[in-house]
Subunit: 223 residues, 2 copies
Amino acid sequence: MARRAAPVLHRDNPDKEPLSGHVKVTPEDWLNVARDLLVSEGVAGVKVLAIGERLGVSRSSFYWYFKSRKHLLEALLDDWEARNTAPILDHCEMPATNISWAVCNFFRCFVDPDLFDASLDFAVREWSRRDGKVRNRIDAADAQRLAAVTAMFERHGFSAYEAEARARILYFMQCGYHALEVREPMQARTARLEGYLLGFTGVEPDPEAVAAARIFAEGKMDP
Amino acid sequence: MARRAAPVLHRDNPDKEPLSGHVKVTPEDWLNVARDLLVSEGVAGVKVLAIGERLGVSRSSFYWYFKSRKHLLEALLDDWEARNTAPILDHCEMPATNISWAVCNFFRCFVDPDLFDASLDFAVREWSRRDGKVRNRIDAADAQRLAAVTAMFERHGFSAYEAEARARILYFMQCGYHALEVREPMQARTARLEGYLLGFTGVEPDPEAVAAARIFAEGKMDP
DNA sequence: GCGACCCTGGACAGTCTTGTCCAGAAAAAT
DNA sequence: ATTTTTCTGGACAAGACTGTCCAGGGTCGC
């Protein structure tokens, strides 16, 4: 199935009344609602009837577009894979004057929801705990992302061993933090990013980068 | 409901054949199997029929001990609360000659499965994502544990602000790491603990503590 | 031995889910 | 305007799960 650049095209049909008696839904509509449900209720919440109700159509419409619920779940997985890994790889490869800035670039992915959909990522991660195939895809994604972070540290002069150790901590710590869905006050988030820089860049952090980190942490995205 | 010290008393009845035609099960049996299922399959997997099958008895036995499935889930929550918070508090309060050792003590909880059942903790955490009441209890537990870690840093001379920042990173990082269920090689785990010590104790780590950390990380528990 | 209480098995109703089938409406092609 | 293609609604079957009910078997105190 051809993978587009994931245009989020929720039905722009706010009035519940069908346009002309016949409601048209596309496979993307089913997929979008399915994704919402995956995030908010887990894979068990992705039910054909529930999606249909939210779209305002009957279940049989679903079976016109998808062979079965299983096929929908596979499409959902493809969709996730296309969305969430590329931004991390991109940001790890961005030019940075020193390791402090590089860590800031990495961190940026996790602050800006447009770059990385953390809710989606952890909905899939949760799903993977009950499904071996999903688990394999998560593992592959983690390996790919981790390799990018490791390469980032290596480009800034760390040995292969140290780069991997630091990459593991940085990446999994960030993911884990998101996974917990901690309600974190802004001040705490700033302190946390400073902690990353102090603890894991391995050198005295660049003061300018620390200043930028504060700005990132506060959600302002273009310093 | 009186809370015992949670003696794990799985039915020691390996042969499936009932002892004398009449199988005896206790409420603890139902609870133990329910806990197993919560961990391995999530709250959706905690089904009366499934537990009964594993115990080798019919569902109606369940309704003798528990008013409903809902009541079982509440008992499960009480059980988790009694099990998993105390060890962390205890280990944070253990005497330590310096902050490096204190961090090691904390870390020890997460390495020894008898001290802290990480699988259970994150099964409950996952459950909390779909249930506001559970979420409140998780939040309360996190706050309690975090306060203990913060106090630990404060006892070793950190200011209130710094102690809290470091405690947040240390505790949530460790929890988050577990939450991801990363398959981590032993070498990586050792490197990670060293990273904690280097990054978050805030002082040049005690070499003896680092050595002890390696031992902890390798699962040997009594240096 | 005997009665009282503890506990179990199986049947039943009710709800929710997936997946199939088919008549027929709406839109597109001719 | 008519035919063809595309899509939808509702009915149906089958399976999983919860909760209720009740007859009756086991076990323990006396």
